[in-house]
């Protein structure tokens, strides 16, 4: 478990070291490229803004009304026997459907329960390790005019289910 924590701390600085060393050795204009790429980051953050405002407001309405707690109390006994925190269910359900909606839910879970709580860590792991299966299939097949998807949806959704179960087990193992 100590290795996993060490990887988390070392990965980004080491990656940075490699990129900057290789780039300098190849005489690439590092600073100028950084600034150029960084401009895209500003654009990206602003393009995310309306998505996040929309989703987070909608979820907060649902939470502040007490409806989320009522739903969680309803399903908690079943899920608790399997060790699944019921708070995570909305995220697990939405993650394959919409990336921005899931990001909104993840943000809301992190702000409500705290980033270093079990739910905060689990939401972070789920959000980071999965992708929007339904969106990807629709866009990619749609763009090239594929009408029969065959078993693609089955594969994608079953792999998502494996991802959900794995994330719960791994987060439990690593963070206890």
């Amino acid at each position: 478990m100590a290795i996993i924590t060490a990887v988390s701390t070392w990965l980004i600085p080491c990656f940075l070291l490699i990129v900057l060393s290789v780039a300098s050795w190849k005489k690439v204009p590092t600073y100028e490229l950084f600034v150029e790429g960084g401009k895209e980051g500003v654009k990206m953050a602003f393009s995310l803004l309306p998505f996040l405002v929309g989703m987070i407001v909608s979820i907060s309405i649902l939470r502040s009304s007490g409806a989320i707690d009522a739903m969680i109390n309803l399903i908690a006994p079943v899920l608790m026997t399997f060790g699944v925190p019921p708070e995570i269910i909305p995220l697990a359900f939405v993650r394959p459907i919409s990336g921005t909606a899931a990001l909104g839910i993840t943000t809301e879970l992190i702000s409500t329960h705290g980033p270093d709580s079990f739910i905060g860590r689990l939401a972070s792991t789920m959000q980071g390790s999965m992708d929007t299966t339904l969106y990807i299939l629709t866009v990619y097949f749609g763009a090239v005019g594929i009408k029969k998807m065959k078993y693609a949806l089955k594969v994608g959704l079953l792999a998502d289910l494996v991802g959900i179960i794995t994330s719960i087990l791994i987060v439990k193992m690593v963070f206890g």
Binding site: I4, S8, L11, F15, L16, I18, V19, V22, K26, L33, F34, V35, E36, G38, K39, G41, V42, M44, A45, L52, G54, I56, V57, S58, I59, S60, I61, L62, S64, S65, G66, A67, T106, I110, P115, D116, T125, M126, G128, M130, D131, Y140, F141, A143, V144, G145, I146, K147, K148, K150, A152, K154, G156, A159, D160, V162, G163, T166, S167, V174
Partner: protein
Amino acid sequence: MVNLIWAFMAIVGIVYAMFNGTMDEVNKALFESANDAVTLSIGLISILVFWLGIMKIAESAGILKALSKALMPVVSKLFPEIPKGHPAMGYILSNITANIFGLGNAATPMGLKAMEEMKHLSGTDTASRSMITFLALNTSGLTLIPTTVIAIRMQYHSVSPTEIIGTTIITTVISLISAILLDRLFYYQSIRRKK
């Protein structure tokens, strides 16, 4: 689907508040959360600028290309129907590398190109074996470093915003392996049915 989910959450919340007597809280949450979301989005700028800046350097230094080349032998085994040296393979590799580094915006155009090339190979409007394998890889999430999640954790004052990288990588790898296995399983099942 997203439209339905979005509207449904707000509608259920408001109706529930009518009966639960929590309209005050809902009214307050409406404006506070909108404010929070804007603060959060602006906070995301720091990491996104930093990461995309570094990735631009990595791209120009040929690091992404080198990784594509290194992945070639493994990835080409997953696509037995694509002939050696076919352009589809190049696009598939670029898409995978871009995804690994969390460059979703760069990954999608490459992925669409790959799909086009694979359609040339199959020539029908039914999904080919290679296409399904390719999308199985994509939908299982290939990202190694979840930059947006780290940024959000920073915004909410995590003691260690990056501590979830390890668990994220393990989960990604396991769901990736199971996506490949499931893809194989359903493919052989579909052949057997034809016989």
